[in-house]
């Protein structure tokens, strides 16, 4: 489908919001609290955050919730009765205000959830989501989307991409997919035709800092490097990086039993946790934090490209921003590039 470009007046966004609401869409949009910005169920247009460079959390839990019940069970005389998720109950969602580096992450996440087994739940959730991307007009020292093949106005992953033309300007809406078109059809008049639509000059500048293909090749021979140990010495092994990451997909399955009834829950997990790979025997193949930090980098820049033909990093820089001990992934990637193996 060809990308259709339209003008959306700055005052029209709220109208669009209301129309979507009237059409029973659930809207998740970024809101700020405690100085952090997260996606929340937006009851009204007011308060939706716009000034942020990046939300603190990625938007991945719209299709891959941090905790989701995947089935209920109950034991009875005949055995076990199981009730799975009724996909019809999953609401139609508009994900509002997603940055391009987040939007592209949806594709990377999808490739994990469809690599071998097609994850029905994930796919069903995702199919109900329409992504409203918002291009970046600001960046910071953590941003490196351009180093991993993205850019601040990247349309990949969005159904509609909005680019604000100037500080207080109107929006350029790029209608990218059929899904996007369907939404537009609900509010045709808000998407005006216009000849004077420009976007590149309004986008943030994000310099290319490394070559990801080069890194990938280097990593093949880098597994035993001492770099990992030195770089990870200050890593304390929390899961903040993984949980804010748009592409980290590790999960745990928990059964929450209440007598003869119970639920099975899928919830996030992180390869950074020391217990992530502990065997029942007590042996831990990744017994030290350096091995776990290495796993994180290797997975994103070596294993995923190798097996899924996509990189596991969108250059959003969230992990570095979230890290309590300033583990800066960009800094480490640059140093890997500089090291001669």
């Amino acid at each position: 489908m060809n990308i259709d470009k339209r003008l959306v007046r700055k005052d029209s966004l709220e109208k669009l919001f209301d129309i979507l609401k009237q059409n029973s869409k659930t809207i998740y949009a970024p809101f700020s609290k405690n100085g952090k910005t997260s996606f929340m169920d937006a009851k009204s247009f007011a308060g939706i955050s716009t000034g942020h460079i990046q939300t603190s959390e990625s938007s991945k839990d719209i299709a891959f919730p941090r905790a989701e019940k995947i089935l209920d069970y109950s034991k009875n005389k005949e055995g076990m009765s199981v009730k799975g998720i009724d996909f019809a109950d999953i609401p139609e969602v508009v994900l509002w205000g997603v940055r391009p580096c987040d939007a592209i992450g949806i594709g990377e996440l999808s490739s994990i959830f469809n690599w071998d087994y097609k994850d029905e739940i994930y796919n069903n959730r995702l199919s109900k989501v329409t992504v409203f991307g918002f291009s970046c007009n600001k960046s910071d020292e953590y941003c490196f989307c351009t180093s991993v093949g993205g850019n601040p106005g990247n349309t990949a992953g969005s159904d509609i991409l909005f680019t604000r033309m100037g500080e207080d300007g109107d929006y350029l809406a790029e209608i990218i997919t059929e899904k996007g078109l369907t939404v537009v059809s609900l509010a045709q008049n808000l998407f005006e035709k216009s000849e004077t639509l420009e976007r590149e000059k309004f986008l943030a500048e994000v310099p290319v800092r490394f070559n990801h293909e080069e890194i990938r090749k280097k990593l093949d021979k880098f597994f035993e490097s001492k770099e990992w140990i030195e770089e990870s010495l200050r890593c304390l092994g929390c899961g903040a990086c993984a949980y804010v990451c748009p592409t980290c997909a590790c999960f745990d399955i928990q059964d929450e039993a209440h007598g003869k009834k119970g639920s099975r829950v899928r919830c996030w997990d992180s390869c950074g946790f020391s217990h992530f790979t502990v065997h029942t025997s007590g042996h831990n193949p990744r017994g030290v934090q350096s091995a776990r930090w290495r796993q994180r980098i290797m997975h994103k820049f070596s294993y995923m490209p190798e097996r899924l033909s996509v990189y596991g990093c969108t250059g959003c820089g969230r992990c570095s921003r979230a890290c309590p001990v300033d583990m800066n992934i960009l800094e480490h990637l640059i140093s890997i590039q500089e090291v001669t193996v």
């Binding site: 919730p65 905790a67 019940k69 209440h258």
Partner: protein, 149 residues
């Protein structure tokens, strides 16, 4: 509608309150049947997490009871317990857990009548408070769909 019958879990030590409740029985003192006793060797053994678990699983009220100070069969288990209760109760209060639903008491092996009185008073007060819906709402998965944070 039938009257609300609160579910009350009692965490008691073996030597004083359990024996005290035995004496209530031996003395044939009647009390409300809403309470179920779980026997511990000592109040020192009572893990505060178990109290939360009781609420998780739908208890409306909790009784925690053991030997009077100085009477602990193990000398000081109840002293340790008391200090933990002081802090735990304050934390519960601070997080908004309804501390009126957790009754702490000392009931000795000789206080069969007191046990009956404690149970009856707890049942009455929990009946007035009604079911602990606030906690139940967050506790039970099957009743709600969890999606976005």
């Amino acid at each position: 509608m039938a009257e609300f019958e609160p579910k009350i879990v009692a965490f008691v030590c073996n030597w004083c309150t359990y024996a005290g409740a035995d004496l209530t029985g031996t003395s044939r003192i009647k009390y409300a049947s809403n309470v179920r006793i779980i026997r511990f060797p000592c109040t020192g053994r009572i893990d505060y997490m178990l109290l939360l678990k009781a609420f998780d699983e739908g208890a409306d009220g909790i009784i925690v009871s053991g030997c009077h100070p100085n009477d602990c069969h193990y000398t000081s288990g109840n002293f340790h317990a008391r200090r933990r209760w002081i802090m735990f109760r304050s934390l519960c209060d601070f997080t908004g857990i309804n501390t009126e639903r957790i009754k702490f008491s000392w009931v000795s092996a000789a206080e069969g009548a007191k046990w009956a009185a404690i149970v009856n008073a707890t049942v009455t007060s929990i009946r007035e408070l009604g079911p602990y819906t606030e906690y139940k709402k967050v506790a039970k998965y099957p009743e709600k769909e969890v999606t976005h944070g």
